[in-house]
């Protein structure tokens, strides 16, 4: 056998890997990990942006709250009273329907 044939034979035989489903799985696992990392960084950046915007809005509203303290207090009390009224109504309605069914 001449050297050319020997070379071609060795090259053909040497290192051809078998088709390996585990390799595909490993690649897909790594792509999912990368996708997760990218999503996490995006979520962090989004959160940081929202926090910065909230802080930027909060600073001027401190002065506004000081100027309208009484109105703010009355508004907060009215809001709490409204929440209590809704809660009580829902609770009574639930009890009434339970008693009706029983």
């Amino acid at each position: 056998m001449d050297n050319e044939t020997r070379l071609m034979r060795v090259l053909a035989a040497a290192t051809l890997p078998a088709r390996d489903p585990a390799f595909v799985l490993a690649v897909m696992r790594r792509t999912e990990q990368q996708r997760y990392r990218v999503e996490r960084v995006r979520a962090l950046l989004r959160g940081a942006g929202l926090a910065a915007a909230a802080a930027a809005l909060a600073v001027p509203s401190i002065g506004w709250a000081a100027a309208y303290a009484e109105a703010l207090q009355a508004g907060a009390l009215a809001f709490l009273a409204l929440v209590a009224l809704v809660w009580a109504t829902r609770s009574l309605a639930q009890r009434a329907s339970a008693a009706w069914a029983g």
Binding site: R6, L7, A14, T15, F23, V24, V27, M28
Partner: protein, 178 residues
């Protein structure tokens, strides 16, 4: 896999289709891993680099212009990762090439063990780009043009690398005929 089918899968993968990308990986893994095994001479490193190449390809799919085949593009990414990381140092490639030669000894119809050991040593001794050109064209059956695109080298340079590399491998097998 036909060109149309491959383009359809690439388009689906670009839209985030994991299943389409998994089919592409399955179809091209043998060529990419085979090339990197021959190039690095280190099986475990080669498979790790091949994984990295496919993951990089996944994240850069929007940059794939389609001028070359998907297989060539991923092989090029793998080549650059292997070259830049310098994971495949020559001592390891000679040792592991010999180990690989022993490992596949039981293959039916395989070439003689001494030829495989001689070839592994000679491959490891080739300069980096020459080794890559030989691995692509003589080992994996890529065309010279494909190899030129993968290695980002002029066509004439690749042809010359393949010829010189072939001569050196023949010499390692005990002669210069062919």
């Amino acid at each position: 896999m036909t060109g149309d089918e491959e383009n359809r899968l690439i388009a689906a993968a670009r839209r985030g289709g994991s299943r389409a990308f998994a089919i592409l990986v399955g179809a091209h893994q043998q060529a990419v891993r085979g090339f990197l095994r021959r190039f690095t001479g280190h099986w475990a490193d080669a498979d790790d680099i091949a994984q990295e190449a496919f993951v990089t390809a996944w994240s850069r799919l929007d940059r794939f212009a389609g001028r070359s085949s998907f297989r060539s593009w991923v092989s090029g990414i793998g080549f650059r990762i292997a070259r830049d990381a310098r994971r495949a140092h020559d001592r390891a490639s000679v040792r592991d090439g010999e180990w690989a030669a022993y490992q596949s000894d039981s293959d039916e119809g395989a070439a003689p063990l001494e030829d495989r050991i001689a070839l592994a040593g000679a491959m490891a001794a080739l300069p980096q780009t020459q080794r890559a050109a030989v691995a692509l064209c003589l080992g994996e059956g890529f065309s010279h043009s494909e190899a030129a695109a993968i290695l980002k080298q002029p066509l004439g340079t690749v042809k010359s690398h393949v010829n010189r590399g072939r001569e050196r491998l023949l010499k390692a097998l005990g002669g210069e005929d062919g």
